[in-house]
């Protein structure tokens, strides 16, 4: 099956991107494609359902999730290997999908999004007639 999802972000997935003076973190994402649609799995630690925003517009799926800082801004660390902040990532999906029927499930900091393909785009098995 041909890969039909195009990545819009060029930045390394784990590097924070500076936008409007506030840092945005790019969540790691797995994408699975079946005949019926695409399933996106995104790691969004610390995100609650109320802080999550998923939109689909102009062939672009956008995941945005606010994360409140968990420690005071001036906290001093013995070791600091990651930052905490808003997650943001967009994907251009160049297969016809039904944006109205996207299903989202957020559990234990993991987002699962199912983006169904439109009927016309679904895999259709072609019956082979023997002659």
């Amino acid at each position: 099956m041909a890969t039909t999802t195009i990545e819009k972000q060029e930045a390394h997935p784990t590097a924070p991107e500076l936008i409007d003076d506030s840092v945005r973190y790019t969540p790691l994402v797995d994408i699975l494609e079946t005949g019926d649609g695409f399933t996106f799995y995104a790691d969004l630690p610390g995100v609650k359902a109320g802080d999550l925003d998923v939109t689909y517009e102009d062939d672009t799926l956008t995941i945005e999730a606010k994360v409140q800082p968990r420690q005071p801004r001036d906290q001093e660390y013995l070791l600091k290997e990651y930052g905490v902040g808003t997650f943001s990532r967009s994907f251009i999906i160049n297969a016809p999908v039904n944006g109205e029927a996207i299903r989202a499930e957020l559990k234990n900091g993991e987002l699962k999004l199912f983006v169904p393909k439109t009927e016309a785009a679904k895999t259709r098995k072609i019956p082979i007639k023997a002659s």
């Binding site: 039909t4 999802t5 699975l32 790691d43 610390g46 070791l79 290997e81 900091g109």
Partner: protein, 140 residues
């Protein structure tokens, strides 16, 4: 409060030491420093260790303490492709284990670990002999 630059060389809380000490597996592509990434800070007699562990159930996670060593290990299940194809695979999966040596011995029976929304927060209590003690200065 101890800072990285204040620690004497033998106390292993330097980043390079983590690369050597971390027992991160290469299975599924975990980062070289070891998985999971950690943020560590202390306040008075407590030490806090935080890790981002999305998609790991408490049953698949193990946190253990021995003296000044804290070990976080577990298994993160990979996505089952079922009858589909993986168009993109970025998230690591599989067995992981990471051990860090803290600058203080801790009391093993006073460790709390909470996993919420994919964030693991471990609160440890410094052993009595490691806590800061006020010293009264006498004038003679």
């Amino acid at each position: 409060m101890a800072r990285l630059s204040d620690l004497f060389a033998p106390l292993p809380l330097f980043r390079d030491d983590f690369v050597e000490r971390a027992l991160g597996t290469t299975l599924g592509g975990f980062a070289e420093e070891g998985f999971p990434s950690l943020n560590i800070w202390d306040a008075n007699d407590k030490v806090f260790v935080e890790a981002e562990l999305s998609g790991v159930a408490p049953a698949d996670l193990d946190v253990s303490v021995a003296g000044a060593d804290l070990t976080i290990s577990g298994n993160r299940k990979a996505v089952d492709p079922a009858n589909g194809t993986k168009a993109r695979q970025e998230r690591p999966s599989g067995q992981f284990s990471r051990t860090v040596t803290l600058p203080w011995e801790t009391e093993a029976d006073k460790v709390e670990a909470v996993l919420r929304d994919g964030v693991l927060t471990i609160t440890l209590t410094k052993a009595v002999q490691c806590r800061p003690k006020k010293v009264t200065v006498r004038a003679t």
